[in-house]
């Protein structure tokens, strides 16, 4: 006998344990998919989740991928906590990359410590401005932010395509759709020789700390959380809803823009058509898996980054397409959302009572 009961209050331990449950269920689901595809599920999962991080280079790659994911997800957590559905972080990342990359090309012949900070700052501003479009349209024209922010992703992608094919393409590049390589002073410093982990990770860590500070120690953070829990309460308390919506979008856009500029000045070193393997969309999953909590998001970004690496390894060793990573990411979110049921409901397994026998 199984009986479902509504819980009176949400258990905190279950709140942070369900993501772990979701990850295990995803592994199980992934095993089944690999089995259907004709692989030994244990072997395949090993290729997917263990082989990629079994050496130092792999671990560094994990951090390289987690750096933008964590940063974007931190920004998104501000939006999602206040019930603003910014799902166009991918567009904000690309636009940040475009602005930062443009500045990097502008400073092509400059040397100096000031070059990189200017590029990074302009990338953040680019992302921020791009995110303000859906925010302003939402606040002043009542336009659905989900659809607008998403449409802008396509616009940003096409703009990037236009720039790298046309005006910004490398003059000595034989018409390849890419800009020239940025100069040394426009590149993120590499932390250790031989591996790709770069200084962008500090930007991410600082942002995590700042977001914790803002969310849990300031009045703005309080407003954001209250608006997320109940819009009516927020209105009653006299919070300026419109300003807050614009601010959370600005924060989120700036983070995505930073992630974009971190990618082009870090591992990529130039602008080309694919500066992001959908980090902006995947970060949505990271934000949820991390429970919109700064520390949670750090762990979640590492796990989701592993699905990227795993997909690459599996592509080489198992000849499955790299999109397998997306299947895993989708599954994680499915299982996570599904297991939230346990937060609000108790499932009781009742044995047959003696007097019923």
């Amino acid at each position: 006998m199984i009986r479902v009961e509504k819980r009176n209050d949400v258990s905190r331990s279950i709140y942070f344990l369900t993501p772990v449950l979701a990850i295990f269920l995803t592994l199980f689901g992934g095993g089944i998919i690999f089995f259907i595809l004709g692989f030994n599920p244990i072997e395949a999962l090993k290729f997917f989740f263990i082989t990629p991080i079994s050496d130092l280079y792999g671990l560094s790659e994990l951090l390289v991928k987690a750096t933008p994911l964590c940063l974007i997800a931190i920004g998104l957590s501000f939006c999602f906590k206040s019930n603003n559905w910014n799902i166009g972080a991918e567009g904000q990342l690309i636009f940040g990359g475009i602005v930062g990359g443009g500045v990097a090309l502008l400073f092509y012949n400059h040397d100096g410590f000031y070059v990189l900070p200017i590029i990074i700052l302009s990338g953040a501003i680019g992302g921020m401005l791009f995110a303000m479009i859906p925010a302003i349209l939402k606040t002043y024209f009542n336009t659905n932010e989900i659809l607008v922010s998403l449409m802008l992703v396509y616009v940003a992608k096409l703009l990037l395509d236009f720039l790298v094919v046309g005006p910004w393409s490398n003059p000595e590049g034989f018409n390849f759709p890419e800009t020239r390589q940025f100069s040394e002073s426009a590149r993120m410093p590499i932390l250790f020789d031989g591996i790709r982990i770069h200084a962008g990770i500090f930007i991410t860590l600082i942002s995590v700390f700042l977001s914790w500070l803002i969310l849990y120690k300031t009045y703005l953070g309080f407003q954001i959380k209250v608006s997320g829990l109940s819009l009516k309460t927020a209105k009653y308390a006299g919070f300026k809803g419109k300003t807050m919506i614009i601010i959370v979008f600005m924060i989120s856009g700036a983070c995505a823009g930073l992630a974009g500029v971190g990618e082009i000045t870090g591992p990529i070193g130039q602008l080309h058509r694919n500066i992001s393997p959908d980090y902006g969309f995947t970060a949505i999953i990271v934000a949820f898996l991390g429970r919109l909590n700064p520390i949670g998001i750090i762990f979640a970004s590492l796990i989701v980054a592993l699905t990227y690496l795993g997909a690459e390894t599996a592509q080489i060793f198992l000849q499955v397409p790299k999109y397998t990573g997306q299947v895993f990411q989708g599954m994680i979110l499915f299982f996570l959302l599904g297991s939230d049921y346990l937060l609000f409901f108790k499932i009781k397994f009742l044995g047959l009572k003696k007097n019923e026998l």
Partner: protein
């Protein structure tokens, strides 16, 4: 002169063809949303429909099976959405996003072995009439049966929602699930059915792309059409007839953009390609500006979780 007129006819026919996937997906989503469920997985369901339709066509060599199969697979994948949002009471927005991400990944995984295989010719109806009547011929004839179905669908949907008892029940569930439930209506069942119907229509929309419109399988071939379909539902303020008009406008922009590229105007290709997305934003702004008008037509419980205490 008659040649020019005929060319315009062909152009209108092309616009109609390019609006078909939007009409199908948006009409399906409209029913889902009218029952109070916001499914953002349209893009994911469409792409699953596209690959399963194409794969079935290659494997069975039968277009009928391919079309039916694409609808079934759209329906099957929407079951995941139904289970999560209706039975496990998850957030509609997040679940829909997960469905899209999952669908795109899954379609690429299934589609790996179908890249580069040429499609099969889909039978077109009344081809001789298309050629013998100038202007009107290319508009009304020489299309696939799915196009005729798509153009009838908004009218059927309108009739269904306004004049039938089931339609009334769906609207009641969307506007006030609690009162509907108190009237003895099984809200969860109604919403499940609407989700599955939406899934089947999105699957068909995808199959139209991979079997008829560009008969081949390309990764990510829906290219945001699912999202435009979602925007169309808002644009149409949840009225099926306006979905048809909106889809034709967007089809028009797509075809116009292609023709401008072909003519070789000095406007960058990318800017022209961005036109449908930019137009969507502009149209959304114009439509949504009047918040009362939007509120009047939005299903009141759209996107809200319904839970009945037992």
């Amino acid at each position: 002169m008659s040649f020019d007129l005929n060319f315009i006819g062909i152009l209108i026919g092309a616009i109609m063809a390019s609006s078909v996937p939007l009409i199908l997906a948006a009409s399906g989503e409209l029913i889902t949303e009218r029952s109070g469920v916001l499914n953002l997985g349209v893009e994911g369901m469409m792409i699953i429909g596209a690959i399963s339709g194409f794969a079935l066509m290659v494997v069975t060599d039968n277009l009928f099976f391919a079309v039916i199969g694409s609808m079934l697979s759209g329906l099957i994948i929407s079951v995941i959405f139904g289970l999560l949002t209706q039975s496990l009471l998850t957030n509609h927005v997040a679940t829909g996003l997960a469905l899209t991400i999952f669908g795109i990944g899954m379609s690429a995984m299934i589609g790996k072995n179908f890249v580069g295989i040429p499609g099969k010719e889909f039978p077109l109806l009344f081809v001789n009439l298309k050629e013998s009547i100038p202007f009107l011929g290319p508009i009304f004839f020489g299309h696939s049966i799915i196009l005729y179905f798509a153009f009838g669908l908004p009218f059927l949907t309108n009739y269904f929602l306004k004049k039938t008892k089931t339609g009334l029940i769906i609207r009641a569930v969307g506007d006030s699930p609690t009162s509907a439930s108190n009237q003895g209506i099984n809200v969860t069942l109604v919403r499940y059915s609407c989700i599955l119907y939406g899934g089947a229509m999105c699957g068909l929309a995808g199959a139209y792309l991979s079997l008829i419109y560009t008969p081949q399988w390309i990764e990510n071939m829906t290219g945001g059409r699912g999202w435009i379909a979602l925007a169309l539902v808002v644009f149409a303020t949840w009225s099926p007839i306006k979905v048809l008009i909106g889809a034709l406008i967007f089809g028009g922009i797509t075809i116009l953009q292609l023709h401008m590229q072909a003519v070789g105007l000095r406007i960058p290709v990318q800017l022209l390609s961005a036109l449908p997305y930019i137009m969507t934003i502009i149209v959304l702004v114009v439509i949504s500006r009047d918040s009362r008008k939007i509120k009047l037509n939005t299903p009141t419980s759209l996107g809200q979780i319904f839970y009945k205490e037992k």
